[in-house]
Symmetry: none
């Protein structure tokens, strides 16, 4: 009997700057994944809660910050959530109601700093972990702080085996957000902890992204679940920055999607999805991890710890 977990990635955008609407959307899409596709695990994109202010400059140039940019930051800051908080409780309820394990990108507020975070919500235990993005990219470095090694969870979770109630499957899962996926040492750390379901919430919609997702699946011999936002101009406030202000059009694409599910041997199981929002679902045959590690186990028989060793610092000094 195959060891199968059924998993979805959601391609959708934030109901920008509206926390209640976004939570409602998360509820609706989780129900789709569950009711239509039978998903046990659902991954939402980066910054799904809180929003990804694409094309904004926050009034920042080298050596100067404009007051209007500070005000935009105040709005963005207020749209972020604390962990825990009522918003987290709401996601816990959705998880419990649907019996779906949820991984979702949120903008986390901690004192005066924002973080780009992924939270892991279990149907039975609620919030079980969070991961803060270690390195924001380019202008993100102006609006988000850096995570540290205290939030690099690789969770061991148990799922029901689809056709056979009563028997269960154990899997390890983790998350790397957007360009963290270009950090080979972070990935190596995750591999070394045995990650099998590698969640990659993102807003990177370039075609090249697909190469990296496939490579990571192959390199880590793990399932890769990449959930990207799909957003059009109408999904942002009317005054939001755009690529070309002379061509504003509500249906202009802001973030083009590309969500995908890939097997440990590099086979595409679902997607990449382009052109709109949607939910992709696939069966993850956990034995494929073993089939893959037969000839490549990047932190096991295919490592050279005598030559290369990865040191990982404790979270603080």
């Amino acid at each position: 009997m195959p060891n199968i977990i059924r998993a979805s990635v959601v391609q959708a955008c934030t109901a920008a700057y509206s926390l209640p609407d976004t939570l409602e959307k998360l509820h609706r899409l989780t129900r789709v994944a569950k009711d239509r596709d039978g998903a046990q695990l659902v991954v939402f994109p980066e910054a799904f809660i809180g929003g990804y202010p694409k094309m904004s400059s926050f009034g920042v140039v080298v050596g100067d910050r404009q007051p209007a940019g500070r005000d935009e930051f105040v709005r963005y800051y207020n749209a972020a959530i604390e962990i825990p908080s009522p918003a987290i409780s709401r996601i816990e309820s959705i998880s419990q109601e649907t019996d779906v394990f949820i991984v979702v990108g949120v903008i986390e507020r901690d004192q005066g700093t924002l973080y780009c975070t992924a939270v892991f919500i279990d149907p039975n235990e609620g919030l079980v972990a969070k991961h803060r993005k270690l390195l924001p990219t380019a202008l993100e470095r102006v609006i988000w702080g850096q995570g540290d090694s205290s939030t690099l969870p690789v969770l061991t979770r148990t799922f029901d085996q689809g056709s056979a109630k009563g028997s269960s499957i154990t899997a390890k899962l983790s998350a790397a957000i957007c360009w963290e996926n270009y950090m080979p040492l972070l990935r190596t750390f995750y591999y070394s902890q045995g990650t099998q379901i590698y969640c990659a919430p993102t807003v990177d919609a370039r075609p090249e992204w697909q190469h990296s997702m496939a490579h990571i699946a192959l390199e880590g011999r793990c399932f890769v679940l990449s959930a990207c936002q799909y957003a059009e101009e109408k999904d942002y406030p009317p005054d939001h920055a755009v690529a070309d202000a002379s061509k504003r059009n509500p249906s202009n694409v802001m973030i083009a999607g590309g969500s995908v599910i890939i097997s440990p041997l590099g086979k595409i199981l679902a997607g990449p999805l382009r052109g709109g929002e949607g939910v992709l679902t696939a069966d993850l045959d956990m034995d494929d991890v073993v089939r893959g590690k037969f000839d490549l186990d990047a932190t096991g028989h295919y490592a050279r710890p005598d030559i290369f060793q990865l040191k990982v610092a404790a979270s603080r000094l």
Copy 2:
């Protein structure tokens, strides 16, 4: 004025078990790259000298080795070369004659053990370095030993700037052979040494290989030059093992190629080449490395050395 180096990858197979023929072939193909395309740097596939005994089992099963397999190994052993040796001298001559820097995969013999090695041959200085594959894959572990940290060169070389004789360009180059490319710590080491021209001699002809080459270019912000063998049954001795002995056909594909040149931003500059032998050539605009590192420098501003540190052992204790 652009900083351009012109580089080729050769897709070709060994004239199996015939060293003189293979050296002659290397000479001919280097001339094609030079005379037809103006190449300054040429990368040949893994095991081009010595051969890749695809589909052979060397009479090895778990717990037993057949005498015929030992004899096949004797032939393979005798087809390998020492470094240095007359064969290396011959490649030095070809490099000098053509003024082409050559990177070529060879089967190296050292005492009783064979290694899968890439040698770096400079037109002026001759043999300047070698890299031994750190981890053979699957059955290769039966016929090849493991390299160590004493042969992980990242070379600094100077090339003439194409259109402007007299001015020159400095570039750093290294090599990772076949599935070494799935070793994130090895790659990280190469990135940390500043590799800009990342040579990937291989015999991996799966379509998935392309994902990893593109990913490495993006992750390392370096040019990736992957040279794969293309071989048919007729390129092997008549009694060589094949996938299905009932369907022997001289034109059956043994290694399907897929050589490719990719830019630091993940753009394909040439290839992937399939269906036959050939030489691919492209201009490498070295400023693209800087353009790429602007927003991603995996061992510089996009690293977290406070959390993750890569320790590299000296070659022996």
Copy 3:
């Protein structure tokens, strides 16, 4: 009064791919050693738990892996055990029940990699150490990873002195698996740690094996307890690979045994056993170690540390 420990080696095969049956067999044979022969220490062969897939190729040839081979690996992987795990607990119970110290070869699963491991189970303390084979041989390199210096235990254990309840004997014991016995530096390390009871679980049934066992006893001035599997075709699944598929016969010998117990002066105390399963038992007069070291102590008065020094790396960098 002689300082005697009574020790057995078990020659038997895995109940292939059946963990419960194999544990039951281990229980039964430990009882034989204890009840029939009065053994205080029992050594089982290499891979007794998990099995030695002799003659399998796992669908691996140079440059290719067949899907069926991956599936065979999945089965083999699933038959392996983690350390600790319920299987280990079961062996601990058997050890406690029989008051026998057990050394047994197991296939250990750790993340995606398998290891060929020997576990040491104490009647009172349960699992006290494990040793992972440092270098798999030939095709084993495809299915097993490499151990490192963190699992090279030389244990100090105390045994009751047979005839004199109340008095006890202290002995040092270690294990080297199969062709690790051809690693002179590993052996030297064990000698330097004072090993007196040198356990050699194996599946090497060649007659030449006897020479090495005798040599090691002489060289190390230690008792050598070599436990080899004895297996016939009927002990493997019906579709298991065999040497000659045209001559399948349930009683064909797959692994021919050769278990043996040898004294520090090279005298054979029991065995070699051929032609079937069985339990060999002998009195180990620990004073023989001293008698032997009188004129040869390979890491003591018979060493030349001024010329040759063995450096042993810590388990990782």
Copy 4:
């Protein structure tokens, strides 16, 4: 006889993107400080070598980078210097020629990443240390990497005592660049190392900057030498970004200066200079450090190490 060191701060801008012109300017201004004012120590502003691209956005908005921005980065990258390099040698020559100790902000290039660095050049020993800015501010995070604890020098230097040739004064000096001065733990570290001449190269020309300089002098009981750039639009390339593109004017102020020298008791010794380039010089009576620490020694008698302890990590793990 007073223990006096004569020190200057230079307020000037880069000859943008022209390394030779900027080095020439550094030469000229050092001569002014030496010949006109008798300076023994001169501090130049942040990014004096390499330039501070104020008002540039480098084509970066959240989630996107424009190719033109990458090209601007290539120009900026090529204008940066390595350490050491011929540019450093040139500064060493200037230092030697004038017998002036020079602290100057440079844009340092190391592999693909730029750093905002201050170098310390001794007349006799040449380059003796460098400090890399630990945390770039706002958009600087897109163009500069982060320093670490390996470049936090507090140097002990000996100067001639002005009026009394033959006798000498020892002083400790360090540098914190721009908003690093808002990092209380970095300052505490410098205080704890005994810094007496606290150099603050900057491009922060806000009036509020003066408060922080005075506070640091008081808190650290050290001389503060803050050297700021003064730049107008004409000092940048014609196509450089400006605050309001509709009001371009070569004499518009880009960076307004504010260089200042303050005593350990908070007294302003020279400056703040506004409205143009210039050289400020003052006598530093080193006994004032002692006078100030009489009632406040922030890492000595005015610390509470029983409550607060500052841990400083080694440069890497």
Copy 5:
């Protein structure tokens, strides 16, 4: 709708050695802040209750203490208050009556030792916390003891939103007394706890004090409310020590004031007040904290916890 808290600082002196008069004065000035200015929060100076015996030597020289000094201490001791005590109850009544949160400096008596303390009085909850000065300055060390880490509160308080009854604002506040403000680690601790309203009761009336207040606001991205005493000779007993006993004059200034309110971006919202007693009031737009932390969060995105870590000891055993 702006998030505004209305806050006052009181510049006034103790009715020296008269507790009832001083409490009455506290009542009157709180009413002014409330009735005239609409204040929700009022900060009184250091040692407002108990007095600051400026210019006294308490008969202490190195190696000797005069009896008269001892007697002066007896008077000072008796003027101090215990916490809690009737005096505290009285302040609680004033707070409740006016609905004003009060922070006030008191001389606290605990066994035989006096402490320079700030108490926090809530209109609804009464005394909620106290902070004892960690390090008295200079001769203060003779009359006051040292606080410890058990009294470093950062309180979370809720205030009505001025124009909109029913909605409320949450703010965090703390206090550092006089030269504690020169302790960078104490400030860092407060920042790390999220302080937004940083109260600085003091008697430091030097002009340089303004620099530090502005710097702290900028560094901590918090509102700074510095309340200083204003006192003349007539406010002290006739025999109180003065700077120049030959020039006694009731209107000679003993403590010159300088109270001030500064925003998180370093803007002066009220004051500095000089030349007499008075009440300064300002609107604190709490979003300014977010606007400020956008580009500087000294213990968040602008910290380097990988390099510098502040350890804070638990309070004494």
Copy 6:
């Protein structure tokens, strides 16, 4: 065409204490090997020149030495040879005459100390190297000194290929004397130098010796040529010590032989010879070394230099 060298081991004893007779015997037996068997290489036993004084005690007990023993030593000393010396020249002549490479055990005299040495005599070059036994065994320690690392040659020699004059074979050879063969680090050193023809002159005639010879062949994947003395009482002076003086008999066996030639895969090619003197000869197929190293190369692919490293000291200063 096979790569074959024809080699002999000579089993014979010294013509005790008679140098000329022994050299004559060496001449005669070399001719046998050459003329009868076609040998190209001949190995003589340990101490063939100079003699092995088996059963002598040299009058030594703990704490005392008898004069008679001293006299016996004088005789033994005088029977030894220097290197070079006329005796060596004589062997060189024999080698040249027969075109046989000779390895022979000699008692070497150097100043006042004797060494148990093996000399290597080339037909063309004469004496090319010597090896001094590193560790005498038991009472040997009273009569022989210790060698050091300056005499551990592994020689590269070229031999004619038997049937094909004009073509030649290169082989590496070395020697370990008697119980040196129980020194695993010495053997490892020889393996690491690539020894292929491992000469083992000895006087150890125990049956157990055969195990070690076979083991070394297997472990080192080299040919083992063990030449042992065969001696009876009549081969010693009449007054020479014997095991049981009451049973003196000229035909009593003093050293029982056991010379043997073994292949790299552990096959016995000739011997063991017992019961008398004699010459054993075998074809050494040098490809067997490669066949053997296919699956075991103890200092190549079957080593773990990351864990175990053998350091070899340079010879004495």
